[in-house]
Amino acid sequence: MITFDHVTKLYDRGSVTALNDVSLDIKEKDLVVLVGPSGAGKTTLLRLLIKEENPTHGAIYFKEDDIVKLSKSKVPKLRRSIGMIFQDFKLLKTRNVYENVAFALEVTRSSTKEIGEVVPYLLDKVGLSYRAKAFPNELSTGEQQRVAIARALVHEPEVLLADEPTGNLDRKNSEQIVELLQQINDWGTTIIIATHDEYVIKTIKGRTIELDDGKVVLES
C-alpha cells in the first residue's frame, strides 16, 4: 500500500541528512511502529507521506500514485486518504470539541446533514460524546488527543499517521490512546506510529521499524 523506494531527504543544502536511502513497504491494515531516537528521521518520514515535503531523492508510492510527482491540486485528496495526529494535537482553541471535528468536514464542503451524522458518530467512537461542547482548554491532554483522532478519522482515511501521539500524555492517558489506535487498526485502518515512548513500543501489537541516523536499522 505504501512504498518508500530509496528515499533520501537532505536539509540545509545537503549538510543534514534526515533520511538516507530508505526503502520499505507497508501493507494494507498494517500497524507499524517507527522507533528511534530524536532526529532519527521518523517525523520526516511521516511528513513526506502527506507531501508536507518532498524527498531529495527517491520515490514514495501510496497505492498506485507516486506522491512525489503528485500535482498540488491532488494533495488535498491525498490528505483526506491519510489522516494524521500530532504530539501537540493542533486543535483550534476557539472551537469546541464538536466544532473541531466538524471543521475537518466543513473545509471539504460537506453538508450540514453529513456533519450532523459523522461528528456525533466519531465522538462516540473516541468516547467523547459527553464533552462535545467543551473547549480544548477544558479537556485533559488525553481527551485532546482523542479529539484530534476523531478529527483525523472524519474522511475515513485508509491510513492514519501518529507523530508521537503519547508524547504529552501521562501513562493512563497513553494507555487509552494506544488502546484506541489498536481499535482503529482493528476496524481496518492502516496505522503508522512514530514514537520513542517505551510503553507504546512494548504494548502495541504490530510491526516495528527502527530508524537511526536516517537509516532503517531494524525491521520486525
Binding site: 502527506i50 491540486s73 490528505r79 493542533k90 483550534l92 482553541k93 471543521f103 466543513e106 473545509v107 472524519v154
Partner: protein, 293 residues
Amino acid sequence: MNIIRNAIQHITRSPLQSISVVSILALTFLIGQLFVTVTVGSGRILSYYENRPQVMIFFKDEVLEDQILQIKAELEKDPTVEQVSYISKEQAVEIYKERSLRLFPDKPELLEFVTADMLPASLGVSATSVDTLYKISDDFQNNQFVESAIFQEDLVKELTRFIDALRIAGAIVIAILLFTAIMLMMVVVSHNIRSFGSEIEVMRLVGAGSWYIRWPFVIDSIIFALISSTIATLGQYLLLPAVKSFSLNFIAAVDIIPNQNEYILYLYGATLVFGVVFTSLISLIATWRKVRI
C-alpha cells in the same frame, strides 16, 4: 456560507487594520474619482472655449454703432469667418451685472457705479481657420477704431497647459496612493494569513483545497473594495457641487457635469468594478505568496 463567515472573522479580528485599509482605499478611490471629474470637466471647458468667438475686438468709446456694424458686415463677407457677434455697451453692462451678481451676490454696490459708458462695445469673431483669426487679430491691433483685439487661442493654450499639468499631478498622486494601497493591503492580508496560521495549518492537514483557504482572504478584499467605493462615491457626491460651482464661477460659464446623478452612478459602478478587481488581485498575490498547500 462558511467562506463568508471566515471572511467576516478575518475583518473583525483586526478592526484597526481593516479601518486603515478602507481609509486608504476610500481616499485613493475619491482622488481617482476627482481626477476623472477634472478630466471630464476640463474637456467640456476646453470645448466651451474652443466653440466661443476666438477673437474679441474691443472698440474705442467714440466709435459709433453703425461703424462697428459696418466692420461686422465686412468681416462676415470672409468665407472662413464662421460667426461675428456684436455686443453693445448696454449688453456689456448687462453681462457684467449678471456675472457680478452670480460671483458676488452679497456686494450689490459693485453694480452701482457701472454704466454703459464705462464698458466698450465689442465684436466676437469665430472662424474655421486659425490663420484667419491670426490675421483678424493682427489687422485690428492697429485699427484706428480699436482699443484692443484679444486672440483667445492664448487662453485655450494656457488652459490646456494648466489642465495637462493638473492631469499629470493627479496621475502622480493616484499612482502614489495606489502604490501605498497595494503595500498596505499586502501587509494586512499577509498579517491576516499569519494570524490565522493555526486554522490554515489544520485546514491543509485535513485536506482543504487551495481555494477554500484562499477565498476568505479574497472576499475580505472584495468587502474592503465595496465599503471604500461607497465611501469614496459619497464623498464625490458631496464634493461635486463645490467643484461645479468653482468651475462655473472662476473658469468657464459652463456646467462641467450636467447630469450629476447619472454621472455619480456611472462613477460608482466603475469604481466598484475597478476596486473589486484591484483588491482581489492584490489578495490573490498575497495568498499565493503566503499560503502553502
